[in-house]
Subunit: 224 residues, 6 copies
């Protein structure tokens, strides 16, 4: 089984970190690699960023379709996910949908911690798209000018507020760039902390093993 | 006041029809023109179609920004609308959002009639995105192989079923290609029948006159 | 085109202010005037106030029906709006529905600022009636005994809290008596601030130009 | 304990029938009477009807306030109920809210049967106002020109369809004029059939006995 | 009329207090008694507690079915209520559903005050089960280590915060163990404070008098 | 890795079939077995059935806790799932929640096919509990007295109606007893058909591999 992870930005460090997380989960049970888009923005943040990388994501999936058993989109906003589900015969899983839906299996309410207040409205809209508004108790992002010893302390503080003030029972890492923070936060907070890359791998590898993929009967049929 | 309508497909007939509808509404009170995208698909139907035309829509808006007071996206699925609202300082209105929200002001429930069953799931998702699921009583599209004397008879029949069976009080034309059908259907059915091009013009020209545009304080801020 | 605005209270200053706002928007493109009800309460606040003015509003609309192309109800709680839509053949637009629905076109979430905590439950119920609970992030009203240099400072402070704390991207003035505050607040806060009188004029004048009015096929049919 | 039922129309037969139902339930445990409004319409159906009777309903409640322990509004659309809750210190219960909320205690989903298709949109809006859209599986009204041996057969047929086709487990009589039909329909269909007059009496008499009435702390405070 | 109240825990003091409240409301108009389960936990708090007492609750209802006209479950989480509605031919009312639904008749929004933060997620889920999420503005429970002169002061403080901060108009006592606090809190706060035991008695005794019970046509039919 | 599947009924054939499905999916990658409850009902259908088997399910989980890495509840109504999540430190997954949430990743809307009309209201309530009402387009069960060549034909017909009439894009097998039907229905209908046993295995085995389990911070904390 070969799973290909698309990192829709062009940050090689993030791509490497995602791949490390993925291989650490796979432990050889299946092949997994992560590819980024060469001329993509350094970071996917705006609606325009998501739109700009769309055609390149399509190209990459089409080129890899034959040698790949499942695709994962490793940006927590799940950019262009509907189009990829439509064009591929293979399972395509977004780390946003996978992590937020997995969270609902592990506790009553979850919170998303993310890197910037700017992305809160889009994250709220994303939860609505998936019918998860009720289950997502809050989105926490750092205030402008917040000062912390390091990134881990910053996100730990956000997650702690989500647990203690918002009564979140599960924390979802709301950005692929946070990959790897799950263990440490989980240790400190004693609540499940979900890395979308792992959640998407669970579902994608499971679907491949099951032999089930996106329905082509109506809305995801590319040849209507 | 100059309003530019983007027809994101490449059908010159549809572009001409949209422009005719728009000029017929404007009656010289403001300038309005419709432009299509040269290398776009003939018809925008799939998720991939919507994604493919995204970068070109951005280019077109950016190129026209200085000479334009408001933009309208003339595809009823409102493709890439969030990105255009983000990049432009001018009002950007989708014919889908405009027509469906206008419909809620004219009756208790509305129905959308559209060209193909394939687009029903995406139309339902679009209504959810706008919080209109409760108000959209049905989406009606022709069955495969349905035979009618002509297109008008076909859509008249769909709209009549929406009114009589689904108790829709307002009909929304769910495709820019249906522009111009509103008068005839309204005459036959004696219910409001809304052409999204006109609805978007009402709102866009009104916002220009008012001097109000998309909020740039958070989620539509292009420089987060 | 002649548009008649009903101010359902009896405050001549508010009536004058509303008319000034309306004429300032119309700039001669259409005729617009505002009339109040002689023996109405000074201010419409309670459920009883709304009910008491109902029969007079009906009379006024019936008397003016023939010389009027569209009616606007200039009280943000939209009192008796369903009945007026039912009795008139002309478009009838409430400033509450117009402003709150317009707000959804300009940002992800809006807030309403209003004059009194007492009206918060009714404003929440009104948003639910229109299916806008999801989009209305908060209703902000002054605490009892709040002290401010002047009214503008007071409502500016409320709106600022809505933007900074509640993450509202658009502000809706929740009372016809606040007409005229939009420009100043918009300048200070750099977010769209919507005056319902203008929003209703945009829609009402647009509907007249389009030749579309309330559906009479079922629930607004006065002769069932 | 004295409970006063307001029939907001002017049909003396309906008033008598409502009073008979009420006395039959009370069986002397409390006093109950029903009064109609002299110059009201014969039947309350349109939005205008509801509005027209508002000031008279207020007068009647104010005049009876001192000698009455609780009020019931015996029109299933609960006209002007918020205003009456506001002006009275005594419990005020609508037969619509009472019957539809009672229905949720007796089965998974309920249906409302009513006298005219015209009132379906308003009934749907009423269920939304009470947050009951999820629980109300359908509103059934006779088709125009439907022929039945008698009224009972007609409403029995509607209720049967609601049970067998819509899977309603409880039937709510959606018009005060249907009072008295509950027993017969219940016998035929073997499902609970609720008369709103009785449901409102259960709640109103219970609240009087409990010594609890409408909250006056905020939204129903008449002296804000 | 004989109503049997089940206290699903084994605390004799709580059983006595519930019975005292019940007899105080009944004032001889009907017979009412409260029974606890011998080997039940001292307090019902966890999901496991609720499940453990299920079979005993079934036994108790079956044994008492013939001599009882209605059953009440006196634990605010309404444990095993669906099963009891299914097995009994008599009305079965939970104090949770009765009090929360009654609250919606008395004010725009209600809050629940309860004994422990631990039960907040389950209370939120319970409100969702009944379709009351919109109407329940908050659940307030004491912080760990909160210090108060006595229990009444503690719950008074919680309820006051719910009224002043959350804008609750009605308070629901979220635990059968709080029975008897309603009068005192109501006096202090001047808002309705509802004891679920009384609310359930109002509905149960009313249903017995009406001769209506749980629908057996589909989902509560024990012999499907 | 050892996963234990609980079949809460006492049908040895169903237990064997579930185990066969599970082993067929595991293909030796992890150990999996299925156990039934000796004195349970032959079939879990009523609310009472679910309640009766609760204490035995708790016993079984507690007894197996130390030798088991994850538990699966193999009844599509997910009986007593909250309690099992609470008492175990290991992941506990219900086949109902797993299959319905997995379905949302593979198509726009899903339908559940089940064995009896009687269980439709409970299935609808279960979807609401998981926040999936919007995504579950229908529940289809055989009419009483429906005649089919064999069970497969019967459920194939139900699923086909769900796809063609209700526009379901994914089919969920709504009963553990239907295990094994997925392949054949999928072949015939060309839509994903999900067996909850497999879906739960995907998630449970993934969570074990990930090292994440139910949150114990609040609502599932057994020692509150």
């Amino acid at each position: 089984m070969r799973i290909l992870i698309l990192n829709p930005n062009s940050d090689p460090q993030m791509t490497a970190a995602i791949e490390q997380t993925a291989k650490g989960f796979a432990r050889g049970a299946f092949e997994v690699s992560c590819r980024s888009l060469d001329d993509a923005p350094k970071f996917i943040e705006t609606y325009r960023d998501k739109l700009q990388v769309g055609p390149r994501m399509v190209q990459l999936v089409e080129a890899a379709e034959d040698q790949t058993d499942a695709f994962i989109v490793a940006c927590h906003s799940d950019p262009n996910l509907d189009a990829l589900k439509e064009i591929s015969q293979k399972p395509v899983v977004g780390i946003g949908e996978a992590s937020m839906k997995m969270a609902t299996l592990l506790g009553h309410r979850f919170a998303v911690i993310t890197t910037d207040r700017h992305s809160i409205p889009a994250k709220v809209a994303q939860a609505e798209k998936y019918g998860l508004s009720r289950d997502m108790v809050s989105v926490r992002a750092p205030d402008k000018g917040a000062r912390y010893a390091n990134e881990t302390e910053l996100f730990l503080a956000l997650a702690r507020t989500a647990v203690e003030t918002d009564l979140a029972e599960v924390i979802v890492l709301g950005c692929a760039g946070l990959t790897g923070l799950d263990r440490q936060l989980q240790r400190e907070l004693e609540v499940p902390v979900l890395d979308g890359v792992v959640c998407a791998l669970i579902i994608a590898s499971g679907l491949v093993r099951y032999g089930v993929s996106t329905s082509k009967v109506l809305g995801y049929n590319p040849h209507y």
